[in-house]
């Protein structure tokens, strides 16, 4: 557990030394969410209807941006090899890296989402649903994305390949995340969607780090 905390702290410290990388992804989210009203037109009725989908797709793409760097630096300077050799189980260390990635990419997105929701005139309960689903959904995105990042580590054209691998696997999270907000808007309530999202998160959190560690070992061979 000490190793877990130490690794999370290390990744956070590294990220805070280069704040621009974290902020770029956040601003990407803001810009994407702003582009849609400009492309579709300022009619509030339509915007309110498409807001859940747009905000979720925006969050999805933003969290994809930073995935390529998740293991790349550690892979290049050999830290990753040391992690694989250390007596601490690799899945635990991978879990720490994923958790740090979520703290830096997913959590800020979830906290920023209410501001973006104002652009689309979402009501209070819908905003609440949006934040909750993003809080549950973004760690799921980080875990799935980490598997993709490990598989494409050091591969030529890895960044584009990564999005091709990961985006189809993101779809269930998108369906239930955006679905929850839509359900809230249409008056059914978001509890059921949120429960399924949580179930998927539990499943991913259990298997994800292990699969990711296996993929890293393949890359390190």
């Amino acid at each position: 557990m000490n190793a877990f905390i130490a690794l999370v702290q290390r990744d956070l410290r590294l990220a805070l030394r280069r704040k621009s990388e974290v902020l770029t992804a956040l601003f990407f989210f803001v810009v994407v969410a702003t582009l849609f009203p400009l492309g579709i037109g300022p009619e509030m009725g339509i915007l309110r209807k498409i807001a859940p989908g747009i905000l979720w797709v925006g969050a999805l793409l933003a969290s994809l941006l930073s995935l390529g760097r998740l293991f790349a630096a550690d892979f290049q300077d050999g830290t990753l090899e040391q992690m694989a050799l250390s007596s601490t189980p690799l899945p635990l260390l991978v879990g720490a890296k994923i958790f740090a990635h979520w703290l830096l990419s997913g959590l800020p997105l979830a906290l920023l989402a209410p501001v973006m929701a104002l652009q689309f005139d979402l009501e209070g309960a819908a905003v609440q649903a949006l934040v909750l689903t993003l809080l549950v959904g973004t760690p799921l995105l980080s875990i799935i994305g980490a598997v993709g990042a490990a598989l494409t580590l050091g591969v030529r054209g890895g960044e584009v390949l990564l999005s091709l691998l990961v985006l189809p696997l993101y779809i269930p999270a998108l369906v239930f995340g955006a679905g929850a907000v839509e359900a809230q808007v249409s008056g059914i309530g978001y509890a059921a969607h949120l429960s399924i999202l949580m179930a998927m998160l539990v499943l991913a959190a259990f298997f994800g780090p292990w699969v990711c560690a296996t993929a890293l070992r393949v890359a390190l061979e």
């Binding site: 598989l151 494409t152 890895g158 699969v211 393949v218």
Partner: protein, 243 residues
């Protein structure tokens, strides 16, 4: 029995086995498809609701079945590859992928052709159609990943892992009809209830399904021969074969 299996798991022996097997399966596929298509287009009665347009199901339904079965087969070979660390497993996974992608595309394409006259639209965002499309993306992702990695052993393992992760999606496709109640009609063939189709229609469809099975096996064996030769080009037996 186990010893025998591992004997055939060596690429060199399997190369010759595949060479013997792929032709009979190809012939079988052609014969079954000829009979199946004849029954489907000339023997099976016209559907009283859908007219002649329904006949596309003789290609569409077997193609959809195969698209899912092949992905499961890939996951199976990937699993074998991880448990026994056999080189042949990865090659089989790679040999199956293009055929799977082909059938998925065929299923989507014929589905669109059927949807236009029946539903009045080429495409609906129904759960089943969408998950078939996702399956197509998964195949493309697998092919892209394995072709981007230069080291064949790493390509096998990374691809295998991706196939296993993606296999979680295949059950979702199959049960999505039950989970989301939407436009796509429920399954016409069911194990528990029997079939709601005319006998000849069912037979034609099953023949086509068998034809696609045989085609898949023949193609996978044919393709795995090329992969084996390419990978083993530095060995003496492959060079002797080429000489």
């Amino acid at each position: 029995m186990t010893l025998k299996l591992f004997h055939w798991a060596a690429p060199q022996t399997f190369y010759h086995l595949a060479g013997k097997l792929w032709k009979p399966f190809a012939v079988l596929a052609a014969a079954l498809a000829a009979v199946g298509l004849y029954m489907g287009f000339f023997v099976a009665p016209t559907d009283f609701q859908q007219g002649e347009g329904y006949r596309i199901i003789f290609v569409h339904v077997p193609a959809s079945w195969m698209s899912m079965v092949i992905y499961l087969a890939m996951a199976f070979w990937a699993f074998l590859g991880f448990t026994f660390n056999t080189r042949l497993s990865g090659m089989m996974t790679q040999a199956l992928a293009p055929t799977g992608a082909l059938f998925t595309f065929l299923s989507l394409w014929t589905g669109a052709l059927w949807g236009k006259p029946m539903w009045g639209t080429w495409w609906v965002w129904d759960a089943r159609l969408t998950s078939e499309l996702i399956l197509f993306f998964l195949y493309m992702g697998y092919i892209a990943l394995t072709s981007a990695i230069e080291d064949p052993r790493r390509a096998d393992k990374a691809g295998g892992l991706l196939a296993l992760v993606g296999a979680v999606n295949v059950p979702i496709i199959y049960f999505s009809v039950t989970w989301w109640n939407t436009l796509h009609q429920g399954a016409s063939v069911s194990v528990t209830k029997g079939s709601s189709m005319a006998q000849t229609m069912l037979w034609a469809m099953l023949l086509m399904a068998l034809a696609f099975w045989a085609y898949t096996i023949a193609m996978a064996l044919y393709r795995v021969r090329s992969i084996i030769l390419e990978r083993e080009r530095h060995t003496r037996w492959a060079q002797e074969l080429a000489a």
